[in-house]
């Protein structure tokens, strides 16, 4: 009976094996996964393009150049898109790790963006303190938006999947109202907010690109989260609750309600930060489509990364490239951009299927008499 766990497994389960041989194997495995997923994504795309009768070659060229053809494409298209995907992906993975199915990153992101827009109104008074304030406002709003679902789950037993999806729609329509009402630009023509003050805009970290400070936020939060989950008692508690809440409560004497609530709020805060960052780093004004579904794509990002924060950073870049490429594909080859969400969904399903296959392999070796 071979008891050696497959490589995939090591990534999730042996985070704590500091400095050991397994660690390098885990890294290699992670790298292998990333490359394999990128390859699978391209294959899926080719199949879909061919099946739907597109000019596949032309579309692929547009995809690749759009995503990685130039320095500007890499930094300003791919990486800029990767930032909200990474932050929202971290939000989703944190929640999923705790056993909370937060499908509401989209709504929390919108709430964060809206709150940040309000915060920029204070820019003339605050000056350089505007950016910290708007980021904090984004976090608080995201956490509060998630907090509604957390409250409904903890106190009233409402399935968070449904409540967070409903809250996404409420957030969308609320933003729709805001940009036609209190926050609308001064001419009252377009459904979008005023442009935020220059001092409220996140600095660009590489000159002559659009890559802004949010990239650093994503990397720092990703690494911090990874370390916290593997090395800190609080992180272990969160993972234990996600792995088996009953056992966490009974055997670990962990306060499950407290742990899940904190995780839910933290998840919302990170998603809210994604929204604030997007506003302050990319769009400079609020409108309904400020997120083209980043909160949903983030679910794919998190799952493909097997909920590992470092993996989320890698997967976010992969998906950033995919979305940047898809954008170029629509522009240059007339391929509908939404095709990419088909690829993303198929990737999730493939990962699910692979997981089940692996579990089955483990079961086969069990002596269950």
């Amino acid at each position: 009976m071979s008891r050696t766990p497959p490589v995939d497994d090591v990534i999730v389960n042996v985070d704590h094996n500091r400095g050991s041989r397994r660690q390098s194997r885990a890294w290699l495995g992670g790298l292998f996964r990333a490359v394999a997923l990128a390859a699978v994504a391209v294959v899926l795309l080719v199949v879909l393009l061919t099946v739907t009768g597109q000019r596949t070659g032309e579309a692929l060229i547009a995809l690749v150049t759009g995503a990685a053809g130039t320095w500007y494409a890499i930094t300003s298209a791919t990486l800029v898109r990767a930032i909200p995907l990474a932050l929202a992906g971290l939000a989703v993975s944190l929640a999923f790790r705790a056993g909370i199915l937060n499908i509401g990153a989209e709504g929390q992101l919108l709430a964060g963006a809206a709150a940040a827009t309000f915060a920029t109104l204070a820019a003339p008074q605050l000056g350089v303190a505007t950016i910290p304030l708007l980021l904090a406002a984004g976090c608080v709003a995201g956490a509060a938006w998630a907090g509604i679902a957390a409250f409904l789950r903890q106190k009233l037993g409402v399935l968070e999947v449904i409540s967070t999806i409903m809250l996404n729609y409420v957030a969308l329509h609320t933003v729709g109202y805001l940009v036609r009402g209190p926050l609308q630009e001064s001419t009252h023509v377009f459904p979008q907010s005023f442009n935020i003050d220059r001092i409220a805009q996140l600095p660009i970290i590489i000159p002559r690109t659009r890559l802004h400070l949010g990239f650093v936020f994503a990397v720092v939060i990703g690494v911090a989260l990874w370390w916290w989950l593997k090395d800190r008692a609080g992180g272990f508690r969160l993972r234990a609750v996600g792995a088996n809440a009953h056992a966490a409560e009974s055997a670990g004497r962990i306060n499950v309600a407290r742990t899940t609530t904190i995780a839910f709020l933290a998840s919302g805060a990170i998603a809210g930060l994604a929204g604030a960052t997007q506003l302050s780093g990319v769009t400079y004004s609020l409108y309904e489509t400020i997120s083209p579904g980043y909160g949903y794509t983030a679910i794919a990002v998190a799952l493909l990364a097997r909920l590992n924060p470092l993996g989320v950073l890698v997967a976010a870049v992969l998906f950033g490239a995919l979305e940047a490429g898809a954008n170029a594909m629509q522009r240059d080859a007339g391929v509908p951009e939404v095709l990419v969400s088909v690829v993303e969904a198929l990737l999730i399903l493939l990962v699910l299927a692979a997981d089940r296959w692996r579990t089955r392999q483990v079961r086969m070796t069990e002596a269950s008499i």
């Binding site: 409904l152 037993g157 449904i162 999806i165 509908p336 939404v338 198929l346």
Partner: protein
Amino acid sequence: MIDAFLEATIRWSTPFALAALGECVSERAGVINIGLEGSIIAGALGATVGAGVFGPTFGFVAGALSGLVIAAFFGVFAVALRSDQIITGTAITMFSLGLTGTLYRLIYGASGVSLSTPTTGVLPLPVLSAIPVIGPALFIQPPITYALYVAIACVAWWMARTQSGLALRAVGERPDAATAAGINVRRVQFGAVLFAGAMAGLAGATLVLAQAGTFVENMSAGRGFIAIAIVVLGRWRPLGVAAASLLFGAAYTLQNLFQSLGLSNVPYNLFLAVPYVLTLIVLALFRSGTSSPAALGQREIVSR
């Protein structure tokens, strides 16, 4: 006024009730299908294409088939492979929204082109529609609404009075007990999922063929998720689900009513949010409690 309100309520309720009735069957078999939204949007596009080619009646058939195909996809992962139902359903919805968006643009050209689909008009039922107040509301409706009445009665009867209905309920409560009684759990669950998909497809077809008269990307607008909330509110019973659907039909009717009344000081975007807020309130007030199928969402057949 009142009968116009009732008539509109039933008209708006129809797609909710269709989808929720299907989901009710699926959940009684222990499968929560978040991919319902995907089946609805697929049904809407399928109906658009089908009706464009062969007319509205075939549009409904095509819609049901489209919803069924998406549900079959869900079933392969969630039932056959026993993947997590929630995550699978989320992925399926994403898949279907992306696929319908792509296909729509490919078939009907780039977005923005207005598309008109033949719709089914109302079919007043003689005698019945002459009943005061509720007569016109219930019996001057499109044919799909009458089909819904029949479906509700059939499902309610089937669950209570047939062995296969009994088996369905047992599967959702204690799949291991059902297995021991000689019931093929996965077959029952797959069948229930397919039924839910077809019903959701019909709901999508209704949106296009009996309401909007056109296809719009993302036109399902969360109705699949609302339908899941309706099942909770309806206590997993066909008649309860039908009654709960009326609440949401009424909410949509009121939303339209207020908009048309031109209460210009209240922006219409806030009205658009009403059904979703209502769903949250309903879920908060009506806790699932003990009436929820015991094995809902459970992956494994064996309970240890």
